[in-house]
Symmetry: C2
């Protein structure tokens, strides 16, 4: 039947050296002559040897695997990050294993952490919200790097985008187009980054001397559906906004759908700007003006930070914040001066 999976022992025997020498050769460690090394490598390749990373890890060494913890795979957001991390890991000669965290059960988190650190040299946690997971992570025995959450309260090195600054960019863009009544569609309050965006919105409004009414802030949950629903509240205002800034792109899609549903047009009647720049946003119709998160760069940066931690170099509490970027597309435009918005409702109120 299928031959036994080749082990280090086989390689060593065939090469006529000790396992240790073979190991050193395969791992590119010093202490092996060039000839020996080449020979070992050749043989390993010949017989299709693949190191058993399970054994590697068990024997106390590194195994070149980084583990990713993510709450869910179903947002383009995390997909983008994971994709980027995978690429970066490969680039650094590492493999990557993804572990999805489902529920908020403390016990589960403890187990999962145990599991993932048995398998990997370090953990990349894509944890936008302050999850219980963080508590579990605190007891980790391998390095941890948190993505998308400033490590302020976690104490872990972190990589995130400048959510605050990005929000400022968004509002400034709208203001430049002449918009005065700018609404914000808030997202999940438990997400640090989202709160930062809201702060950016509020502060910029203040700085620019624009109206800051509570009614101009709608409560969403980052989902398209919810965004769709609450948009009507904004539209129904006595003095509706001429522009809406949403906490994420997904919400923006819902907002645009709702605006259309109300018989208005984007950006002619109302401008919409999102946050994230997920792939869908460019393809959406109208193409979405948004604030771009540099996913690739964030991922690469996170992987590098983690690798540094694993190697024992790198500050323990490094916080990296990457700049966000305004991407102007078709969903924002100059404010309409003529006030002939929402004919339907004007009839009602007449």
């Amino acid at each position: 039947m299928a031959k036994q999976t080749p082990t280090l022992e086989h390689v060593a025997k065939l090469a006529g050296v000790s396992q240790m020498t073979a190991s050193r050769a395969l791992n590119g460690r010093p202490g092996v002559s060039r000839e020996t090394r080449d020979e070992v490598l050749r043989i390993a390749s010949d017989i299709g040897y693949v190191v058993n990373r399970t054994a590697q890890k068990l024997s106390g060494g590194r195994n070149g695997i980084i583990g990713i913890i993510t709450p869910t795979l179903d947002t383009q957001f995390s997909s983008e990050l994971i994709l980027g991390a995978g690429r970066a890991a490969r680039g650094a000669g590492c493999e990557m294993l993804v572990y999805t965290v489902f529920d908020e059960d403390r016990h589960t988190h403890h187990d999962l952490l145990g599991l993932i650190q048995q398998f990997s040299d370090g953990i990349l946690a894509i944890l936008p919200r302050e999850s219980l997971c963080l508590e579990a992570l605190a007891t980790a025995k391998v390095p941890v790097v948190v993505v998308d959450q400033r490590g302020t309260l976690t104490g872990f090195p972190s990589v995130s985008v400048d959510n605050y600054g990005g929000a400022c960019l968004a509002v400034e863009h709208l203001a430049q187009l002449g918009h005065k009544r700018i609404a914000f569609l808030a997202g999940d309050e438990t997400i640090e980054g989202v709160r930062d965006r809201q702060r950016g919105y509020r502060d910029t409004l203040a700085r620019l001397g624009l109206p800051r009414e509570d009614s101009l802030v709608a409560a969403g949950d980052l989902s398209q559906m919810m965004a769709f629903d609450v948009t009507f509240d904004l539209l129904d205002l006595a003095e509706p906004p001429t522009a809406i800034f949403t906490a994420n792109d997904q919400s923006a899609f819902g907002v645009i759908a709702a605006i259309r549903e109300a018989g208005l047009r984007v950006p002619d009647d109302i401008s919409v700007i999102g946050f994230d720049d997920i792939p869908m946003s460019e393809q959406f119709h109208p193409a979405l003006t948004t604030i771009r998160q540099p996913f690739q760069q964030m991922a690469r940066s996170a992987v590098n930070t983690l690798l540094a931690q694993i190697a024992g170099i790198g500050a323990a509490s490094q916080r990296i914040t990457l700049p966000a970027e305004l991407v102007v597309r078709d969903s924002t435009g100059p404010v309409r001066t003529k006030q002939r918005r929402r004919a339907r409702h004007q009839i009602v109120s007449t």
Copy 2:
């Protein structure tokens, strides 16, 4: 500092039994008295013991982990499947690790396979296209179950949706609405399931005696952008279709955007039906009529099949095909009898 991670040895010592007894108790194996078992369990829980699955696997046993191989995370399609698989695995007391395959390099696949099978008891391969990966998988030493590809050529047990039947449903739905000129936006030809959908389209057209012109079949690649572009070819036809069936939902979004761009409306001027029913489809505007793949059920079914294989029960070449379901929403409607489509072009041709 942080206490040593508790091991089986610690548990055994504290319980005053041998490691073997502790192991049996923890794994629910027979040969342990109820009292002993309870005591061991209690202690393990107390000291926060988590089994080292790495050691477990190395020592030749199972470790209760199933590995998922997927080409990419960036489609809602695979996300849905993985999500479902995760749930199913948890339900069965297993953990799940995801491994993303990037490139089509044979060597990589060999390594990755070696890696993933070191970590898991079995592999779930989400492999819509005939990837080189399959070749590597053929030498796997753990059970493999393929999702979304009938195992005809792989020899692995498989779980997939009835793509052919689903396509028939789609065309029949359109035909019932009075559509005669029904176009198909094809997808990636290397994907078996997509080819099946096209067959279903063709055969149903034939069966219903509807026109089957080559020009009514546009070549896409499952992406929204590509769909957007090629839709104009369809629209520019001397006698354009009144309905378009797309190989997947993502494409349908592009088609709808293009139709709008051309100044036409969905479904008033042209009906559009997709395939997949990803979450976005319900939220899209207009809500997309589509053929639903039962992702949850597929995932559950696949996990169960894999578990059966791992347990040594279950036919080696089991092929499960789940029925697809028509979901009627707002993107399809009765055919327009008046021929006043595409005013723009009619002017040109006049």
